[in-house]
Chain length 566, copies 2
């Protein structure tokens, strides 16, 4: 490809919004261009990269017997109603009606569409298992898009769905997909962690996110020192250290407390005790049912809202309570009691069992309770894990330290079980001739996000350093001929020779100064830069520089081909 003909120019100016390396370089290099926030054009260079990523995923999916197909983009909304996903918050579904009044969803994932297709067939246990997959546009009506391709409102996803007779068969597939995903990200040049995660709006019992460690990522996860426990912060289990269980039980008392003592900082100062000795209450409202939830936890820990939603079976519905909500249970900010409010539910964290003689729990203007003991003075409906893990905490058995990491979720695998097949009554005929609901799994990879993550991992201060497997072109040929027609001709012939050999080459045939050409080559990031200039011709050589290395080398044409073909 001649760079003079390439649509989508590089640009030097950078808006201040482009804080993330992948966002900045993919924009500057002419790979993508934003239409409106979170919706991207893939320009010729960018689509070349995306197509290569797609091809790698396709090869790996095919190699394990998954079959490619595709659903319509518009999903009949009635299917989403069958599974109650039209109301599920957290999943930002876009809907529209056609001129005949039929309602459709712009799919965020395609479980309903696939299950509706599959249940239309007479399928026997002999036909199982099978997995079908697609690359298709997905839509998420996110409130905020950020970081270029890292979080967008429209993207291409490889989503696949497997159908099984039972859990045993599914588990084999889950393992196969685990390995397949690991291989895919490896081929894309990335080490991935399979992170035990919350299944969110998808349904089912367990799932794993594949996360690539990276500062630009939004996924927080923990890895135990032995790397055997890899877990998302929303499901991370950890040991709550005992604080003072050897202390003697004291009598519950209401004591005077100065009016200025309000916050967690205030009480620590006033009592000169660590945060772990105090009770903390955090209030939420379920925005669907309007129930008020009070979560009680040890003062040095934070509530993990996702964990709380999970134990209450209120996925995606809790929001911070406001003054009006607090008033509805007869209290106000800073005065929430750890017991006794009516018209609300109380949930306690496991940490309540690690402290004797808590301070707090019944704060009034000039008094509070002390020597409060969980189980003796109050006890909640549930005592469960609703706390946020932190870097340096230990695994439940206390043996391994947990290291906190940040990364980008580049893929995920879900156990769905019979979540969808039961709601949509999708059945096969088992060996006894009876109808049985499918046991299912689903597996996703966002293509654009992978592309951005590769750039996050492979860049320097000059631009992108593409791994060869996904580079838009293998070779960036730079001709420096000036006005010399003989040299120009020689370069042109060499360009054709490379193309005839089937080597993907971007040929910078533009009339501009060499410095600008080199800067563009660094920005675009093809793995091998090859320069032909009066100097190289004089020496009878060619200049070869790997994008990932500092030094260039003068090589013969024969050496170059040998190198490129290795």
């Amino acid at each position: 490809m001649r760079q003079s003909r390439l649509f989508g120019k590089t640009s030097k100016t950078v808006s201040g919004d482009l804080k993330v390396a992948s966002h900045k370089y993919l924009h500057q290099g002419g790979f993508v261009r934003e239409s409106v926030a979170g919706r991207y054009y893939f320009l010729p260079l960018g689509l070349k990269v995306r197509d290569k990523i797609v091809k790698i995923i396709e090869e790996e999916m095919d190699s394990v017997g998954a079959q490619k197909m595709i659903t319509p983009t518009l999903h009949p909304l009635e299917l989403w109603k069958e599974t109650n996903r039209t109301d599920t918050a957290g999943f930002e579904l876009m809907t529209l009606k056609d001129r005949r009044g039929s309602a459709f969803a712009l799919g965020g994932t395609a479980e309903e569409m696939i299950v509706d297709l599959v249940r239309g067939y007479n399928i026997s246990y002999k036909d199982l298992p099978f997995q079908i997959y697609q690359f298709s546009s997905k839509f998420r009506d996110e409130l905020r898009a950020r970081g270029g391709l890292l979080r967008v409102r429209e993207f291409v996803m490889k989503d696949s769905y497997s159908f099984h007779a039972d859990e045993e068969c599914f588990k084999k597939e889950y393992k196969i997909m685990w390995d397949t995903y690991t291989r895919i990200f490896q081929r894309l040049g990335m080490k991935s962690y399979a992170v035990e995660a919350d299944n969110g709006y998808i349904g089912g019992d367990y799932c794993h996110e594949f996360v690539v460690e990276c500062d630009a990522g939004e996924s927080v996860f923990f890895v135990s020192e032995d790397e055997k426990y890899v877990v998302h912060e929303d499901v991370a289990k950890f040991k709550r250290e005992e604080v003072n269980l050897d202390e003697e039980l004291k009598d519950f008392e209401i004591i005077e407390q100065p009016a200025w003592v309000r916050t967690m900082e205030d009480v620590q100062k006033h009592y000169n005790l660590p945060a772990s000795r105090f009770l903390k209450n955090v209030v939420y409202k379920n925005r669907v049912t309007e129930e008020i939830i009070i979560a009680t936890i040890r003062g040095d820990l934070e509530i993990n809202k996702t964990k709380l939603e999970q134990v209450l079976d209120m996925v995606g519905t809790l929001e911070d309570a406001n003054d009006k909500d607090l008033a509805s249970i007869g209290t106000k900010s800073g005065y929430v009691h750890a017991w006794g409010h009516e018209n609300c539910r109380y949930v306690g964290d496991l940490s309540l069992k690690t402290v004797k003689n808590f301070i707090g729990g019944q704060k009034e203007d000039k008094t509070d309770s002390i020597n409060v003991n969980y189980g003796r003075d109050f006890e909640h409906e549930m005592t469960v894990d609703i706390a946020m893990a932190k870097d340096g905490f230990f695994t439940e058995d206390g043996k391994q330290k947990l290291n906190e990491k940040k990364g980008v979720e580049v893929g995920n695998i879900f156990q769905l079980g019979k979540h969808y097949s039961s709601k949509m009554n999708a059945t096969f005929i088992d060996a006894n001739g009876k109808e049985k609901q499918y046991y299912m799994g689903c597996y996703g990879i966002g293509i654009g996000r992978n592309m951005a993550t590769i750039v996050e991992k492979y860049n320097d201060d000059k631009g992108i350093v593409w791994p060869e497997a996904v580079a838009p072109f293998k070779v960036h040929l730079i001709g420096i001929a000036g006005k010399d027609v003989v040299i120009k001709k020689e370069i042109e012939e060499f360009y054709k020779e490379l193309e005839n050999k089937g080597i993907e080459v971007l040929y910078d045939d533009r009339e501009m100064n060499p410095g600008a050409k080199f800067a563009d080559a660094d920005l675009i990031g093809c793995p091998y830069r090859v320069v032909i200039s009066p100097k190289t011709i004089k020496e009878g050589k060619i200049e070869l520089k790997e994008r990932s290395k500092k030094e260039a080398n003068m090589v013969s044409k024969k050496e170059l081909y040998k190198f490129l073909e290795k």
Copy 2:
């Protein structure tokens, strides 16, 4: 691929709705499955075919320097407002809003998106021309879907857009695309006609539809005997034969006419004269402006509404007038006058000049006018071509007979001129450093419709007969082993051998009777059926049958490979 694992079974039952061969066989063969009307799943077999069609188009587009990219699916509606296409009827645009209230269109074509992208760059005349293309989902909110993939509400289209400094440069590209399209359809196994057509809702001055002759098609077009004039019915020019111009002019008269004389049939009977001697008025209403239009034409001809819309610059807005509309200009059905009504516009067809002494034009209950002469007794604002051509009519020069044909529009190429670049002010810098608006073209191919048209051309009473270039598999291998494990093993080994040679093979390894396997092979329509059975093994041969031929042959393995590799 093992057929036992293939997702998407063949089906024998056919709903009465499946009247069109492609609809029936693509459904029965397990290529596609309808979700809701006009929205299709492409199953693994169908997507294989679609991918091959896509690849052929991609190769041909790349070979002429077009560059692949892709736009978002959701188009900001404000862009469509810039070109006034939100209101244009005929184009059934779907729209929706996101949670922040931003409005989007589900693109039917992507001119606005592409022009918005291009105008964001500093482009110089040196960068021109260029053409960019995409394969993307397109949405049309059609009132009626029909014929399977022939007319759908959602489909993948290859749409491309070229940008030029001037018309001269564009015309070269138009010719290149004409040839490219001809080549593409040839590679897909189809002879296409480049049919001069109406440019409809796209804008611009001229365009050509590529049409494949086929009974299931909806495009009516005419081909002159010498095949030099190939034209869509909506723009077909033809000679209006003189009827009686040698007759003497007679005096205009109002005469009595029996009350039963109402229709065109009635007047012919009453006056015993051919339809061509009568005046006919057809009334329309512009549903945007509510203007009433009366089109007057010779009694033996029909109005072509599209032509009428074009001359009035009212594309896609005319509808048949109803009783209320007629009342609004003081008349009623059957009593429309060829002159004299107020609050309406009159348009006359060229045919009004081919008759002397027309009968009709001022019908009342018991009277009508006779000896009416156009130009003498009445004359309209315009006298233009608004008539429907018919089979057997002659070209304007009277030399070539026009043959009427039906076909499927498999692609189209449009001159857009400065239609979009002026409305959206998209400019480049010309050689004098001045801003100049682009001269544009656009070019479309519907992938699914091409797939269906191929099936329309290549099928018999047993199923599809795929051309090799787009067949889902080259070879359909049928194993007939029964319970014989030795034969089974031999077939399995042969299957692996074919796969290892890189031959695309669908291997029917299912346990079912040979007759059903043969029927499925005919239905699915792979080009070569290869059978291994106890009989062939005994002879040391393999049975080879081409899907398009009646006879099977016994060949050696060597002969088979030689044949398949030719």
